[in-house]
Structures are given as structure tokens and as C-alpha cells.
Symmetry: C3
């Protein structure tokens, strides 16, 4: 089975496709002045774009990891945006933990796997 | 390849099945007055149930992530319960890190992938 | 599809192979007196060995999680070693977060999935 990579740089690929699976890199927001809800919306927009480039979409998510800088303050806000974004009945497996991320103004990062193809 | 989801809610599915793989959500204990050993036992019982619903079992684990709220205090206690639970010679790949979890009284969370089918 | 395990102990397997995928355990350095660059080099050498035992190599990486004890201090140093190690154009999907690891002198841990076989 061949491997296809999307948005490759020397550190990471935005997505890697292999054998019917898409492995996405953790996505972070570009405008980090936004609050956690706004940052989550940005992250999910980037994920929509990566999934489209991968021949997948948000109806075919398998698993998600979500990192929040402040899980006590931001769990509810992230969940509201996340659940609105998800198609009904298509939620992936998920774990959400608190972690400091690559930059102190990043409040949320999301990494997904998804199914590709038919 | 079709996708099958188990215990779906608006945020997550307990398990997602696709192409011979089961992706489980991070499991946390219900009785959070228990110590880390007790919480780990609860988590593993929930995982056994999810694996059974997924057509898999603990002899077919592929990979695990384990989060401990206090890795210094609880690493040994979690490992003892974990190793007793695992069938001999069937341990998954694993990483264990420290993290604050969705609620301050959650001491351990475990997320797994497993093989399904024959 | 059968499951093959490499370097199995009662807690974890160094790698688990199934259906064209290799799931590696999080790798940590042995000499923990080294700085983060040195620890990253040790981790990547252990990963090279595990990938070889798995019938894979660093040209076939799918996804990586990298944990740093101090992401502010060590992100650049880890990235430099990581990018030198990666073959051009073959970077996996990746997420890097800060976390305390199994021992306070472990500065970096890396967990990978890779494709095996042809």
C-alpha cells in the first residue's frame, strides 16, 4: 500500500494517507487572540480543508485527540463548538486532556484520524 | 469500508470500527472517590465492555495511551492493575504521560486501539 | 488478520504489527544525563531499531506524537534533530505537546505509527 502526504514540510505532513486511513497533524489556530471557542472554530476549519484534501470529510472521523491549555476554563466552550461542527451520529472516538502547547497563546489543538475513499 | 459507531453521543462515540480496527474513546472511572488502582480497575472494566461490543477483546489490543494525573505517585499502582489485567504476551504498544484530565478527581484515563474480527 | 508483537513485556510491546500498520510504544532515552537534543537522538536510534524489527523504516512513518517536558526550552532543539533524521518529503503527521513523563529526567518521548510491508 502506497503512502500519500499532503502539505509536507521538514517537520511534519498536514495529513498522511495509507490503506484507507488519513492521519492528520495536530491543528492549531492562526489567530491566537481569539478565545477558546474562536480558536476551536479556526482549528475545525483547517481540519475541514485537510479532510477535503485527503478525500475524506467530517462524516468519516475515526478518532480525535483534543488538547486544551486550560481544561477547567475551556472544556465547555470547546465542546459546544465541537458538537455543533460534528454531523449528527458521526462523532469519533475521543480523548481530551490538558496540556501546554507549542506556544503559550494556543488554547486548543486537535489531531484526528479519518477514513478515506468509499 | 463502512464505519460502525458504538455508544454515540453528540461529542464522541465510545468506539468506532473501520477496516478491522476499533478506535476507543478515552475511558475514565465513574466512582472517583477510589484511589488510582481502583480507578484503573473501573476503567479496564469499561474497556472490556467496549471491546466486547466492538467484536474484540483484550487479547487483540494494538496501542494504548494512558494519562495519569500524578505519574510520580500513581505509576506503580496503575501498572500493577494494568499488568494483571493483560493476558500474558499480549501487551499493546503504549505511552504513559502525566496530564490533568476533564475533572480534577479523575486520576487515570486510558484510550486504546484494538483489532476486530478474525 | 494476525497480530505480531515485538519486545513484549508484561506492560507493553515495543511494537505491535497488524494489517499493514506498526504501532510503536513511546520511546524514551536511556542516558538521561543528555540534553534534549541528545535525548532525542537516543530516542530516534531506538525507533530506527524498532522500525527495522517491524519490517518498516523512517520513510514509511504515518503519525507521531512527541512529548516534551519543557516545550518552551526544548522545542527548537528537538525539531532540529527530528528534521535532520527525517528523510526529505517523508514527514509523518505530528502533534507535539508538553507533558511530565515517567521519570523527571526524561525530557522527550516519541510514539509513532508506521506502514509495514510493500
Amino acid at each position: 500500500m502506497s503512502i500519500q502526504r499532503i502539505s509536507v514540510n521538514p517537520r511534519l505532513s498536514g495529513a498522511v494517507l495509507h490503506g484507507g486511513l488519513a492521519w492528520l497533524s495536530g491543528q492549531v489556530p492562526d489567530d491566537r487572540t481569539a478565545d477558546c471557542a474562536g480558536q476551536t472554530r479556526q482549528v475545525l476549519a483547517k481540519i475541514d480543508a485537510l479532510l477535503a484534501q485527503s478525500g475524506s470529510d467530517k462524516t468519516r472521523l475515526l478518532s480525535a485527540q483534543i488538547w486544551l491549555k486550560d481544561i477547567t476554563a475551556d472544556f465547555a466552550a470547546m465542546n459546544e463548538v465541537w458538537s455543533e461542527w460534528l454531523p449528527e451520529g458521526a462523532a469519533p472516538a475521543r480523548a481530551t486532556i490538558q496540556a501546554d502547547l507549542a506556544s503559550p497563546d494556543v488554547l486548543v489543538e486537535i489531531m484526528l484520524t479519518a477514513a478515506t475513499g468509499v
